[in-house]
Amino acid sequence: MNYISLIEYLPYIFEGLLWSLALVLGGLGIGFTIGLPIGTMITYSDKYTKFILNVYIWIFRSTPLIVLLFLFYWGVFPNIGLKLSPLITSIIVLGLRSGAYQSEIFRGALESIDEGQILAAYSLGMSKIQAIISITIPQALRISIPSLSNEYAILLKDSAICFTIGVLEVLTRARIVSIATGIALIPYLIAGIILMMMTYIGLKFFHTVYKKTVIPGLIEGI
């Protein structure tokens, strides 16, 4: 076994961390930007808007990520005249897909808030939009943090599929190193440890935010 060359390859694997971070943070960011308004509209708008938004959610939740990547990289973007890099395409596709999942997270959080709060807001002279923005969304954001941390962990591991269009993230680099060094297991273990650390740091961040913003009395044990 060529362990010395494996050590030489370690920086190459770690370099993939930046790509993985770009994919996950970009995907989560776009997903949040799309997911929050869609989740809110699905909860509070009319049935026609709900139907259209549910079609978007259904498409992006039911289509495998690899199909979406191919569809956008080789189909949608070139046909509308956009020649985007594999990394940007991957971030957008991960974002659109995460947006579908996040919209369901926010919908669930918004629906868990007692309707009486909106009625109380009306009685104070607030409009529906004011009530949603000032009363329900701030609470929904806090309630949805544990589910968002779950979405982060899933997105981190799903991002490995982006190599099919040329993005060299951590897991792909581990595979390349495994073949270059002839060591089958250790590079994957290293990638696994890196991903575990990234998951731990991310989850810790979400947990800290949750603890700092938790609504007193809403959920016990925090």
Partner: protein, 278 residues
Amino acid sequence: MKKLRYVIIGLIIGLIIGGFTGYIYRGAPESTEYSYPKGKFTYPPSSDIQVTIVYGFDPEYPPFTQVLPNGSATGFDIDVINWIAKKYGWKIIYKPWDWSTIVDALVRGDIDIIASGMTITASRCEKIWFSIPYYSYVHELVVRINENRSFDNILNSGEYIAVQIGSTADEWAERLLKSGYKFKKLGLNSYVEVLDALLDGRASAIITDSAFLGPYLRKNPDIASKIKVLTTIGPPYTYGIATRPEDTWLRNMINKALEELMNSPEWDVLLRKWNLSG
């Protein structure tokens, strides 16, 4: 209001019927055989333009193409392309790409050539065209050193035979299964994993190719002492450099350079450097 509704419904029905009729009675498509549109490298570029070739390769195929710890590309095919690029003064952009989608990446213009131990096959030639062949290899059935059974006995044992998924060795395993042999196929991600499966006993034999196995065993004599090639399978296969069908100029330039390189002493130096001779 009612009239307007009827007009709109009539228009929609008309469009649907018209669309279907047009689709059914559409003319036969024009023959595209040998009439590829002008491509990026169909004709020689003007002399003041720096030719830049985006070179797609599988980073997981040593000794032909792999990456160094600093992320740069290395291997026999990389050296060949570098030699060609130096001869013509081309600039090369190296782009590692997943093997499963590399042909589509070439067809759609993400990369301009593939030189990564790519076997010339009839099915691939429907989408991409190859240079002259530059390396040939055979498929081999490999077993552990203490294996005493014959080819037929192993292939009819019902035991696992490992192959790399999507490789030409995988195609051979499928062919052997279709021809009536009774074994279980163990599909793995890479030849290294396939070899591992043989060494740790998960597979009784493996199907691999001499292009991978020969150099690998010369580099790892400890593994070479634990396994043996039982027999070869099928005819020899050849590697070529893939280009888009319409890139005639590029292909001709590559062919000219390859011919020159293969007839020069440097070719043997390259083969020896990457353990590919003998």
